[in-house]
């Protein structure tokens, strides 16, 4: 029992210290993979020693010292091997202490930012970036990451090993990119964090708790990024987007585990603390850029905020939502976003709004190859037809949508709507 408590403490310290530890080592050894191996050695030493010796007063410094010793030992072993070759031996004898030019200063925060940019390097596949970020920056164990992504631990371990090797092979420098490269590289980092979030968010209820935990990890990574790169509006925008979306998690499923869509959710179940924090992050993003339209994440956060600010679904400012979608589409043209915009138009008042106007947009999208097989197209169309009183057509669309979705609770929901449309309301 005491051992279990000590292990939990070591894990807790690891969660706090690992990113800075690995980042500080990587700055010296110039190889993220090696830095991670050294840090893992230090973790193993902590797991062996702390249960009996107790947690040291400064656990971060302790871990750094152990990892540094491992590195120095490794370099020395290498050096003594080479000393057996006579010509090199002579040179080494004349050389100064081989450790002298290696400087291990206190890890600086920029190191953690460098670590994030390296783990999210575009030279890696998306899966590799996600795994490496969770491993190196969030401090999760390979087993935890494997469980969250529903693969075996050896599979995930192999993925991480390949990613580290790919970084070394590509000679990715350990640095925060500057100038024109920064925007593209930042986009890659934001994408990875949002992928992690969505991996957790899209999981339906009843699936392992580790999926929900992924949302928390992503929010944590996003907040880290926003604090380390405080001048980037999109970093704050991503934090706002994730927090406002996550605020709805408790309301997304009903008592029997069924999916509840946004407008039907009990807003009393929304997490107000996350909403407050998310709206503050959105405010930070908007004041940095001087507008709410600076990038896709800020705009999506502003969209999410429209719902968060409405006390009831009927209070939603749909005209503002339509305007935000217009801006989003000008930055990121996408038929899926067009479809969302059509829904907003159908909800908006005024001469340009209403279900008929929404239906016209959806019909124009019907031939889009990108939406082929996308169940939300017939689902939205069914809803609009239903609201226009064209019930037979609505029923056919709901049934079509039900046949296209792989999600059982969504299928049940669509079939129920088909039955209601058939019954005439």
């Amino acid at each position: 029992m005491a051992d279990a408590a000590a292990k939990a403490t070591v894990e807790a310290v690891w969660r706090i210290e690992s990113a800075r530890l690995i980042a500080g080592l990587a700055r010296v050894v110039r190889d993220v993979g090696l830095a991670e191996d050294l840090a893992q050695d230090a973790l193993v030493a902590a797991l062996e020693q702390w249960p009996s010796s107790g947690v040291p007063a400064n656990p971060g410094a302790w871990l750094t010292a152990v990892a540094r010793r491992r590195y120095v030992d490794g370099v020395r072993r290498q050096a003594s091997f080479e000393r057996r070759i006579p010509e090199i031996a002579r040179q080494l004898a004349e050389a100064e202490d081989p450790m002298a030019d290696i400087e291990f200063g206190a890890p600086v925060e920029d190191d953690v930012l460098r670590l994030i940019f390296t783990a999210c390097h575009p030279a890696l596949s998306r899966d590799a970036r996600v795994a490496l970020t969770l491993k190196l920056v969030a401090g999760l164990s390979t087993e935890q990451i494997a469980r969250a992504f529903l693969v075996s631990t050896p599979t995930m371990a192999a993925r991480i090993t390949r990613a580290k090797k790919a970084l070394a092979d590509a000679r990715v420098p350990f640095e925060v990119p500057a100038g024109a490269e920064l925007a593209a590289r930042l986009a890659s980092v934001l994408e990875v964090v949002y992928l992690i979030f969505n991996e957790g968010y899209s999981a339906t209820s009843g699936e392992s708790w580790t999926r929900a935990e992924l949302c928390e990890e992503a929010m944590r990574l996003g907040r880290m990024l926003a604090a380390l790169a405080p001048d980037e509006p999109e970093a704050h925008g991503l934090v706002a987007l994730m927090e406002i979306q996550a605020s709805r998690i408790p309301a997304r499923t009903g008592r029997d585990g069924e999916l509840i869509t946004l407008l039907h959710q009990d807003r009393g179940r929304w997490n107000r603390l996350l909403i407050t924090h998310g709206l503050a992050a959105l405010g930070a993003a908007e004041s940095l850029s001087g507008s709410e339209f600076s990038g896709p994440y800020v705009i999506q956060a502003a969209l999410a905020a429209c719902h968060a600010r409405a006390p009831a679904a009927a209070d939603t400012d749909w005209n503002r939502i339509v305007a935000l979608y217009d801006v989003l589409l000008s930055l990121v043209p996408s038929p899926v976003i067009e479809l969302n915009r059509a829904v907003a138009v159908s909800m908006a008042g005024g001469p340009a709004g209403g279900p008929a106007a929404g239906l016209a947009i959806v019909d124009a999208l019907a031939g889009s190859p990108a939406l082929r097989g996308y169940h939300l197209l017939p689902s939205v169309r069914g809803d609009l037809l239903d609201r226009l009183g064209r019930r037979a057509e609505a029923r056919a669309e709901f049934e079509r949508a039900a046949a296209m979705t792989a999600n059982a609770s969504e299928r049940a929901h669509l079939l129920a709507r088909a039955a209601r449309a058939a019954a005439g309301g």
Binding site: A8, T9, E11, A12, V13, R15, I16, P59, E109, V112, E213, E216, M219, R220, L221, G222, R223, M224, A227, L228, P250, R255, D266, R267, G268, R269, W270, R272, L273, L274, I275, T276, H277, L279, A308, R309, P311
Partner: protein, 142 residues
């Protein structure tokens, strides 16, 4: 999980005497910055002296009377709080250990999630409770 960290008042914080504690404020500012950079900080605030506070005491019949502050023992009074999002209570403990405190104690409490009440209370009570919290939250946001 979310954890609330409750920090006790001190005699000086109860007197509103902060002038002698500039160094502690600087250290606490640095510590808070660490928490933000680690991505765990959701909320943090300090409370004004209990002299500005009130207590409402209810009797067994539900009647109430109001007692004006200050309240007796500084160490029994909450002086401030944090709300953190962490992966475990142990992680919160490790963070607290890094805080620049002396001669005090700090309390850590997991914050209830709605799921904690499900099945324990009649559902209509749980729902009504959520409804109230939602209204309170909306007023706050505006």
């Amino acid at each position: 999980m979310r954890v609330m960290v409750l920090v006790k008042a001190t005699e000086d914080s109860e007197r509103g005497n902060y002038a002698d504690h500039a160094d502690e404020f600087v250290a606490m500012g640095r510590y808070n910055e660490e928490l933000v950079k680690a991505g765990i900080m959701l909320a943090a605030d300090g409370l004004a002296p209990s002299a500005e506070g009130k207590r409402v005491v209810y009797d067994s019949a539900g009647g109430s009377r109001v007692i004006d502050g200050p309240f007796a023992e500084a160490k029994e009074i909450v002086g401030g709080f944090w709300i953190w999002q962490v992966s475990s209570l142990e992680e919160a403990v490790e963070w607290v250990k890094r805080a620049p405190f002396t001669s005090t104690s700090v309390e850590l409490r997991r914050i209830h999630e709605a799921a904690d009440f499900e099945g324990q209370l009649p559902q209509d009570i749980v729902d009504a409770e959520k409804q109230l919290r939602a209204q309170a939250g909306q007023q706050r946001d505006q």
